[in-house]
């Protein structure tokens, strides 16, 4: 983060909301999703409230695809003020709710819900940030960050995709924050640590909005001044490329650095052929030449 000290003119926040129906907190009580969504929308609006130049994008992440919930592609909805709420905030709320309904309706009925495509959604967010940076007026300092709100469990199936996204974000100086609603997520925590973002596992869903406003609303330059929950120990175990299991000790390809839990003679990533293992052949001793 090049100049963390000077506050930026504009701050761009991309929120990734995991809407996968197989998250535990949703299967237990489907209504709670509405509460969480309301909290997230209020949080998004609070971000827009900070500065008039602040920008926002929300991405919904499902098990079959990820989609922008806000801003909607094409012409924005024509929203008129119905109560005392700021017009822009009403627009945000309406757009997100409408597009989320569309997203959920579009899910294939006959398929069993699989894993949320978080890595894909992250890539989408990075693309969006890159586009806005390109389009911005010269001289405007934009600080960007991504917030993931998810209740999915940790799986290593997308390990490689995650790592690619994390390091791209680090290079682009984009912070990744993670707010876990259910389980501890070691893989995403690594991402936070790599990019300098914050990781928080919310103790109770009732206070979600308060946690979001406290930890994730301040932007990077402000965070250094505040007392925020500490980083803690980060689990940096890698997942093997063959069975996606987390390992402490494993085999590493000497050419492409892929990690494997079992020895295989051909690297599945770069197709390098290794000699069969086993005891090293003992060189036959050279016979001393007798004179």
């Amino acid at each position: 983060m090049a100049d963390e000290e000077t506050p930026s003119d504009s701050s761009l926040l991309v929120i990734i909301v995991d809407t996968n129906p197989n998250q535990r907190y949703i299967t237990e009580d489907p209504k709670i999703l509405t509460n969480c969504l309301d909290a997230i929308i209020s949080f998004a609006n609070s971000h827009l409230m900070q500065k008039s130049r602040n920008q926002l994008a929300v991405i919904g992440c499902h098990f079959h695809k990820s989609e922008y919930l806000y801003p909607s592609p094409g012409k924005p909805l024509d929203v008129r003020q119905i109560d005392g709420q700021y017009e822009l905030f009403t627009l945000v709320e309406k757009t997100i709710k409408m597009r989320l309904v569309n997203l959920i309706k579009s899910q294939p009925q006959d398929e069993k819900p699989g894993e949320s495509l978080l890595a894909g959604a992250l890539a989408l967010a990075l693309c969006y940030i890159a586009r806005l940076r390109r389009q911005s007026t010269p001289g405007l300092r934009i600080s960007s960050r991504i917030l993931i709100v998810t209740g999915s469990t940790d799986t290593a199936a997308q390990y490689i995709n995650y790592m690619n996204v994390f390091f791209t974000a680090q290079k682009q100086q984009i912070l990744i924050d993670v707010c876990s609603l259910d389980k501890h997520l070691s893989l995403l925590q690594q991402g936070c640590d790599i990019t300098g973002g914050l990781y928080l596992k919310v103790p109770s869903l009732e206070g979600l909005l308060q946690y979001l406003l406290w930890v994730f609303l301040p932007e990077a330059s402000e965070r250094t001044k505040l007392v925020l929950p500490g980083r803690g120990r980060v689990d940096y175990r890698a997942a093997c490329f063959c069975h996606r299991e987390l390992l402490t000790i494993g085999y590493v390809c000497s050419v492409c650095l892929s990690v494997f839990c079992k020895f295989s003679p051909i690297c599945t990533t770069c197709h390098t052929v290794f000699k069969i293992g086993g005891p090293l052949p003992i060189k036959p001793k050279k016979k001393k030449l007798k004179t």
Binding site: M49, R80, G84, L88, F89, L140
Partner: protein, 480 residues
Amino acid sequence: MSESSKSKSSLNLNPSPTLQCKDLHEYLKSRSAQFLETLYNYPTICLAVYRELPELARHFVIRLLFVEQPVPQAVVTSWVSQTYAKEQAKSCEALSELSVWQEAPIPGGMPGWMLAQSFKKNLKVALLGGGRPWSMSSSLEPDGKARDVAFLDAYALERWECVLHYMVGSAQTEGISADAVRILLHAGLMTRDAEDGSAVITRAGFQFLLLSTAKQVWLFLQHYLHTAEKRSLSAAECLAFLYQLSFSTLGKDYSTEGMSNNMLVFLQHLREFGLVYQRKRKAGRFYPTRLALNITCVKESGPSVAPLETSPHHQGYIVVETNYRVYAYTQSNLQVALLGLFTELVYRFPNLVVGVLTRESVRQALRGGITAEQIIHYLEQHSHSQMLKSETGGIKSTSMLPPTVVDQIRLWESERNRFTYTEGVVYNQFLSQADFVVLRDYARQQGVLTWQNERSRTMVVRRAGHDDVRKFWKRYSKSS
């Protein structure tokens, strides 16, 4: 011995006062708490005030927003890390000044903070919804002759330039009302000529012209609000309406239904200055323009990001070279006159004016009360698009002007500021030399002595140390 306190306000120190442009925060600070209380009944104002607060103060407000009971001050302090205690104190002060929060005792006797009820309620309304809509626009039918953004920009610019042109006394004096002239006179931007009573521009007026458009509008409206109170318009209502405009969407129409008569008059004035567009006086709908939307951006003047100026109608026309030459591609007398304030004009062609920034010309501007910052800002704001592309020779600078020129203008300004002013208290008429020596040595020991003269038994102590020295003197004179 006697003490004569000479506190000088910073205004008197400057030989020629620079134009003060207060932002919303300073404007509100100068108003009474009662006035603030009425203002916080409008969600728009709450939103605007919130955005103007310092960073940390915003964090405090948002964390207290959903808390219904007073929070101990110690807890609020613990939210910020120790190293930034100074900044935290400043934020707390800002919140108290604007009476956004009040001190409230909590059971157990500890002092606590609590957000002002009306502020809290209306900020929540703005953020989450509820309450009454700001205007009756939801029932508006689509406009058959809707105007697009480009049209509104052109309209706003034309109206506003009309006011500016009037100020420099250009030929285009039509289309400006007596009210607008009264405001200009009231603000001291123009003054009545002693001979024929016509309005002529003042020094402050020239400084006004050098400000960015957003600042000009804001300053102008501040003075409007001052005069409004005399005309039985409620300043609170006007301010709330202004901020309502600033939070509207560009290119959308809003209904005038349900507005009071006073507000309709106010709307007509805003229409005159180009803040809103109305096809007809009784059209029943209006379009806010960029001028109105930018009221909130007074403070956040990032480099070269003035939204109106980036519109295609208003392009930069000034090129500054490293040899202090200034080329201005313009035909407007207003712009030439402004440039002439701080440059020495050399040539004039039909579409081009060439000038040089010299020490003399800049110093003359400085003597007139224009600051170096204003000059630099003006040049920056109106830079030709070609300047944006040019390389600054590998030197990373925040401005696109040549660094040498920027630095030199600043140096010319600091050349004139050879005095540093400190507030102080004079002690004199000591009865004996011994008394004087004792007190002087004490003050020197404390590091608050500014100046002393033994022969006349006079010493000057800094304002901050005055209480301490006086106490010492009382103790000393009692014991001896």
